[in-house]
């Protein structure tokens, strides 16, 4: 069905009793041209781009739980394209441009809100690094503004500017950055893909790969039977190593837990998405009023989707250092998601060393903002068997050749670098 002001009015006048399901819950067929493992944002976006941009409509998305039940439903909903390294800059801007037209493309309200993302700096050296990153962005046609102290004070007068150790000196602002409603992104892609004939199959766990005599992947074994496939794409961040192991692969990835937090609802306070440059703390405010914030990964391998107290304490200390007045706001909820931590902190979108299998993995804790871009370039790779030019550096073999993309200078563990 098509959503519009008229469909809303019709549904309202009939007491909201006649809404149709927004997407079709399919049962598996025997064979598809492309099978995507993983019904999160990336998997569903890939399926939609395959159907809408590349004309491949005989596609299935297999999800072991329900769609959006993994990291797509566990993130802090930030979108931005403020990256400085070749490989990242162009890719994340491609993704940002797709965010800007997503709601029209999908006919679905994803509450994309370009409220701005500001990274605060606290020293001369950090200012210089941010200036350089901002300049890189602007040379590449991306908006960036380096704000001085007066401009930041005007925008956010409530910060602790005179922190003895880490005084705020200014910030790098990307006004086009912001947030989006994460669940609506999943449902929107499911809605639009389903309209084009993509089968979304839930409660369907992949338990193995079907290989022919040459070792080529020709399908998957699942908890709902064998499904044949021309090509199989993996978009299962958090579980990439486990799924790849079924094809005999070892990946340069560790699974770690990242926690996120929401406070009780308060009146509008945080006007944008802001990050504390002297620790790891980032915060925005949801439309319901809760402060949504997070920080570092816990730092040990985990598949448990829950974290521990030391990082909660650390994140809250970062928040208190930056915004002392939130000290009396109570924490409402806290949860953890499993991050595919690659060894250089950047993703992998590439053909697997096994024929017929394609990887979309290693998103670390930055996968949400990449959702549309990842879907587009992964669909490009699956459809044409060659990397999109903006994803050409996200190769699996870069760890062997040394062409790493170490934007943050760290991968799974800071002590590795």
């Amino acid at each position: 069905m098509k959503y519009s002001i008229f469909s809303l009015a019709r549904a309202a006048l009939s007491g909201h009793k006649n809404w149709q399901r927004t997407w079709r819950d399919a049962t598996p067929k025997d064979r598809y041209d492309v099978v995507i493992i993983g019904g999160g944002g990336h998997g569903l976006a890939t399926a939609w781009f395959l159907a809408s941009e590349f004309g491949i409509k005989n596609v299935a998305v297999l999800e072991k739980g329900w769609i959006g039940s993994g990291n797509a439903g566990r993130n802090t909903t930030i979108i931005r394209s403020n990256y400085g390294l070749p490989g990242n800059t162009g890719f994340y801007e491609l993704s940002m441009k797709l965010w800007e037209r997503m709601e029209q493309d999908l006919n679905y309200n994803a509450m994309v809100s370009q409220r701005g993302v500001i990274n605060l700096y606290h020293s001369d050296a950090q200012r210089d690094a941010y200036a350089r990153r901002g300049n890189t962005m602007r040379i590449n046609g991306i908006d960036a503004e380096l704000l001085d102290l007066a401009a930041v004070k005007k925008m956010m007068p409530f910060l602790n500017f005179d922190n003895a150790r880490f005084p705020v000196q200014g910030g790098l602002l990307q006004r086009r950055g912001g947030t989006a409603r994460h669940d609506a992104v999943v449902w929107g892609y499911a809605h639009a893909a389903s309209e084009l004939g993509v089968d979304i199959i839930q409660n369907c766990e992949v338990t193995g790969f079907v290989r022919d005599a040459n070792g080529k992947v020709t399908g998957v074994e699942t908890s709902r039977g064998r499904i044949g496939a021309g090509k199989v794409g993996m978009a299962v961040a958090g579980s990439s190593s486990r799924v790849a192991a079924m094809a005999g692969l070892r990946l340069p990835i560790e699974s770690h837990v990242l926690q996120a937090f929401v406070s009780e609802a308060i009146k509008p306070l945080i006007p944008n998405v802001m990050t504390f440059g002297a620790g790891h703390f980032y915060v925005s405010q949801s439309d319901k009023g809760g402060l949504v914030f997070g920080g570092d990964i816990d730092g040990y391998n985990s598949y448990a989707q829950r974290g521990n107290m030391p990082v909660m304490e650390d994140v809250c200390e970062g928040g208190m250092a930056l915004i002392p007045m939130i000290g009396r706001v109570r924490l409402l909820r806290q949860w953890g998601g499993i991050m595919d931590m690659s060894m250089d902190g950047s993703p992998i979108i590439d053909k697997a060393p096994v024929d017929g299998l394609y990887l979309n993995a290693g998103w670390c804790y930055g996968g949400f903002k990449a959702t549309p871009g990842s879907g587009f370039v992964f669909a490009h790779l699956l459809a044409r068997d060659e990397s999109h030019k903006e994803a050409a550096r996200f190769r699996l073999d870069r760890f062997r050749t040394g062409a790493m993309i170490d934007e943050k200078g760290q991968g799974a563990q800071p002590n590795l670098h």
Partner: protein, 91 residues
């Protein structure tokens, strides 16, 4: 998660630092490139019981070998790592 250090007793997680899987062994000098690549970059990334190296920086500063389930965070065994004063532990 709390870790029972064989030297200090039960302590909270914040006192410890994680190194990772205890299984990989550093290749000898002059080892083939493939071995070094494998050691530095590739991971088993076990979902289940894993032996890991932890450092008790907030306590005795000894390296420990911790057997832990990555699916549940349950710790079943904590031993001093090889060479980390294992002989001082009374069994």
């Amino acid at each position: 998660m709390r870790i029972v250090c064989p030297f200090c007793g039960e302590r909270e997680l914040g006192e410890f630092t994680y190194l990772g899987d205890a299984k990989p062994v550093r290749p000898v000098a002059g080892a083939p490139e493939d071995e070094v690549f494998d050691y530095v970059y590739l991971r088993d990334n076990i979902a289940g019981v894993m032996e890991e190296n932890w450092y008790h920086g907030g306590g005795c500063r000894a390296w420990l070998k911790v057997t832990r389930n990555t699916l549940t965070h349950e710790i079943s065994l904590v031993e001093p790592a090889a060479g980390a004063g294992a002989r001082h532990v009374v069994k």
